[in-house]
């Protein structure tokens, strides 16, 4: 029993310990690691991934997966860039709307057509990617600088980056929904046993429908931030975002099979991965090693593999202890 508890605690809070250790390492090794500029640009950049990971977190907790988030974000960035001349609100609405539409398709395919989430969202991934290229005419779409649209990605709230503030608010809402609403608890129950949940009288399809729509909407919002931050809608961005999001969720201690997870530690997972790549950049900057972007990809891949392997072992032990 106590052993089970210990394993559970490590599974849940291990990411926080690792995060603290990594920050300490960076602080000791690099002069400007904890500089105001580095911290704020880190938060600004990773806010997009945080939003995508939040949606992914809910989907994974139901025992599903959403592979389409990266290309949906790309589609959202294009849609919002096209709408940006009309102002902030139309830009936001276009990006989020495109995301919600993709999420709606995923939700329908999974709950109505009973497709496996892996297959359904893989199809949406392709379709969204194609739509983004079509919409953008096969090139990046510059955003309007006059309408104030760029404030979403580049602006500050006092001195705090606006996209990071959006992510924080989204995580607060997500945490509230997960821990203090019936829908949130149903998300976890479905992941822990879908048939059992249905027999318990939960409306499983409705809850699953909601998480896929939410994941799409959040990916769309991430796309808006992408366009606003870099000044252009980018139809070919978003490749590999789904892997980053899945990794962040898993690093955060959420079971890849669903049924157990946390929103807060998912955020910690995003930060851990974000800081890790930041550290790799610093290493490059120090000149000790020279890592091309390709090598960074390889290192990221290996890191994710290690994390997933560790979690699989931990999960097995945890389920055995149950």
């Amino acid at each position: 029993m106590n052993r089970a508890r210990l394993v559970r605690i490590i599974g849940t809070y291990g990411v926080l310990i690792a995060l603290a250790a990594l920050i300490l390492f960076g602080f000791l090794r690099y002069d400007r690691f904890l500089s105001f500029y580095n911290v704020m640009s880190l938060l600004r950049y990773n806010s997009m991934f945080a939003l995508v990971a939040l949606g992914m977190c809910f989907v994974i907790m139901t025992g599903g997966i959403d592979l389409s988030v990266g290309s949906v974000a790309a589609l959202g960035s294009v849609a919002s860039a096209l709408a940006s001349p009309y102002g902030i609100v139309p830009g936001l609405a276009a990006g989020i709307g495109a995301g919600l539409a993709a999420g709606l398709i995923n939700a329908t395919l999974v709950t109505r057509a009973n497709l496996m989430p892996f297959i359904a969202t893989l199809a949406t991934m392709q379709a969204a990617s194609g739509s983004a290229l079509l919409l953008a005419g096969n090139q990046t779409v510059s955003v309007s600088y006059e309408s104030g649209f760029t404030a979403i990605g580049q602006g500050n709230f006092w001195t705090f980056p606006i996209p990071a503030a959006i992510a924080v608010v989204a995580y607060l809402i997500g945490s509230l929904v997960l821990n203090y609403t019936g829908t949130g608890r149903a998300v976890l129950a479905i992941g822990g046993g879908e048939d059992a949940s249905r027999l318990m009288g939960l409306r499983t399809d409705r809850v699953k429908f909601l998480v896929y729509v939410a994941s799409g909407g959040l990916a769309g919002l991430a796309g808006v931030i992408l366009a606003s931050q870099f000044g252009a809608g980018q139809p070919i961005e978003g490749v590999g975002w789904e892997l980053f999001a899945i990794a962040a969720v898993v690093v955060g201690g959420t079971l890849l099979t669903g049924g157990s997870g946390s929103v807060v530690t998912t955020l910690a997972g995003v930060l851990l991965l974000g800081i890790l790549f930041n550290v790799l950049n610093f290493e490059n900057g120090m000149g000790w090693i020279s890592l091309s972007a390709y090598w960074q990809s390889v290192i990221r891949g290996l890191f994710l593999l290690v994390v997933v392997l560790l979690q699989a072992r931990l999960t097995r032990r945890r389920l055995n202890a149950l």
Partner: protein
């Protein structure tokens, strides 16, 4: 929740002429079930009699094809377990249908969460969970994941959940199968409380003694039909069992199977013996011997522990008590591989799930377990494989277009033969057959039965489990009757008849006289 006045209480549930087909095959043909307010109603029947389907129709899990359901006098039609729950029908399923990763509180309160300012009120929910569990004299940390607790506690949590919905009707599908005696006592006292509050209970169980202890009425189902409804105190155990199995106790028929007469002189020395085997609640005390060339039959109701005992013998599960010997030496299998090495084979009851690989060919299925023996340096020896496969197709009369036909395309009887051949190819000394003729048409059934007898004539020891009474009585040389995990009676073939076996299944003793209910 008012107490009904004296005299018969009003009908709470009235299900009539319910029909349900799955892929054209009738699961319910003409099923009826009437339950009065404040009544504990037993629903019994063999495997496949339609009890679970009837319950799932009532709770909206399946939709009925025809028939009428009245609940509290009103037509009742729900499309989901959720609607059934809201309308006052709660169900505790046979397998505990809860979510082990989530906390006890969540498992009890999911679907009717308590809120404060629109958000979940965890304190109130924990208190509610503790209050409900205290009725069962269970004090546990409701914040911990359900999976950390033992099966009995989980079962109690399932019951607490059902009761928490202030149900008018609680359905319990074999609620006691995972409880020990003390816990069963606690459950019964809860049932009595519910009854006193005017709540009705549908109680599905295979343990006859329990039914007499707690139930008022009984509905007996067989082959998707309701065959009898009676007051519990007006029907004897023997009558109950006979109605479930569809046997007329008075009439003993002629030969109904193809086993035929056996020359038992060739049955030799004891090859395998088990003494006092036990494992959990399912197997409590089982002893039997099996001789070379003998067919030993296990008879018993569902849940009597027949398959569970076979799994212990085959090393699929480990016994917690008792001894086994094989050919005079102590035998402690840790895994099926040990049993196979000792010369055993096991044709499981679940042919599709555990036996054949439907997409593979006859030849591949047949030699699956033999691969190491017919390979040379890891490469399959084609000619040896063909030789073995062709021999068994011929000897067992497997009807197929050839060794390369996919097993999926064969009939149930021929699939069973392929499975038998797979074990026979290993040259076993002892073969366990769990329901060898289930789901097989009559003609093929006879062939399988003749085949079993021929194998025994050749010196194979056969342990045969069957729910078909005539198969055991006519096919076995020696019958062991199991009841609630205990081997209660051993009958020699000459001395066995239906009445004796039925009596042992019902009362736990073969003495047909002096038995009381």
């Amino acid at each position: 929740m008012t107490r009904p006045p004296d005299g018969p209480s009003p009908l709470l549930l009235d299900m009539r002429d319910i029909q349900k087909r799955f892929a054209g095959i009738p699961a319910l043909a003409d099923a009826s079930l009437c339950v009065r307010s404040g009544e504990v109603h037993a629903l019994i029947g063999q495997n496949g009699a339609g009890k679970s389907t009837l319950i799932k129709v009532l709770t909206g899990y399946h939709r009925k094809d025809a028939g009428q359901v009245l609940f509290e006098g009103e037509p009742f039609e729900v499309h989901s377990p959720h609607q059934a729950q809201v309308n006052g029908i709660s169900t505790i399923y046979q397998e505990i249908n809860l979510v082990p990763l989530r906390s006890v509180t969540e498992n009890i309160c999911l679907g009717r969460e308590q809120r404060r300012y629109g958000l979940l009120d965890w304190n109130a929910m924990h208190a509610e969970a503790e209050r409900l569990l205290s009725r069962f004299a269970i004090g546990i940390d409701v914040r911990r994941p359900l999976g950390e607790f033992n099966t009995a506690t989980q079962q109690m949590v399932a019951i607490a959940r059902a009761i928490g919905f202030s149900a008018r009707l609680v359905i319990m599908d074999e609620p006691t199968s995972s409880l020990d005696e003390r816990e069963v006592g606690v459950l019964f006292s809860v049932i009595h409380q519910l009854k006193a509050e005017g709540v009705s209970v549908i109680f599905v169980s295979h343990k006859l003694d329990e039914l007499y202890e707690v139930c008022d009425q009984v509905t007996i189902m067989r082959d998707g039909r309701t065959v009898r409804t009676a007051a519990m105190k007006e029907i004897g155990k023997l009558e109950l069992v006979a109605a479930m199995l569809g046997r007329d106790v008075a009439a003993v028929e002629g030969h109904a199977t193809a086993f035929g007469e056996r020359d038992r002189s060739r049955i030799a020395d004891v090859m395998f013996s088990a003494r006092g085997l036990g494992a959990g609640q399912a197997v409590r005390n089982v002893s039997f011997d099996l001789r070379r060339g003998e067919i030993a039959g296990f008879a018993g109701l569902l849940g009597a522990g027949r398959t569970e005992t076979a799994r212990l013998v085959f090393g699929a599960d480990r016994p917690s008590s008792g001894q086994m010997t094989m050919e005079g030496a102590a035998y402690h299998p840790d895994r099926p591989a040990d049993a196979i090495a000792a010369g055993m084979g096991f044709c499981t009851e679940d042919r599709k799930g555990e036996g054949i690989v439907p997409e593979m060919t006859v030849a591949e299925n047949l030699t699956l377990a033999l691969l190491p023996k017919i390979s040379r340096n890891g490469v399959l020896d084609d000619s040896r494989q063909r030789e073995i496969v062709e021999r068994f197709i011929r000897e067992l009369g497997i009807k197929c277009s050839g060794p390369n036909q996919k097993v999926r395309e064969l009939s149930g009887g021929n699939q069973q033969k392929v499975l038998l051949a797979r074990w026979l190819a290993m040259n076993p000394k002892l073969l366990i057959l769990d329901e060898p003729t289930r789901g097989i048409d009559v003609g093929a059934k006879g062939e399988i039965q003749r085949l079993i007898r021929r194998l025994a004539d050749q010196g194979l020891g056969v342990l045969m489990i069957s729910s078909e009474l005539e198969e055991v009585i006519e096919g076995a040389d020696r019958i062991f009757v199991l009841r609630d995990g205990v081997s209660v009676t051993e009958l020699e073939a000459e001395a066995a008849n239906e009445e004796k076996v039925l009596t042992a299944m019902a009362h736990g003793t073969s003495a047909s006289s002096g038995a009381t209910t």
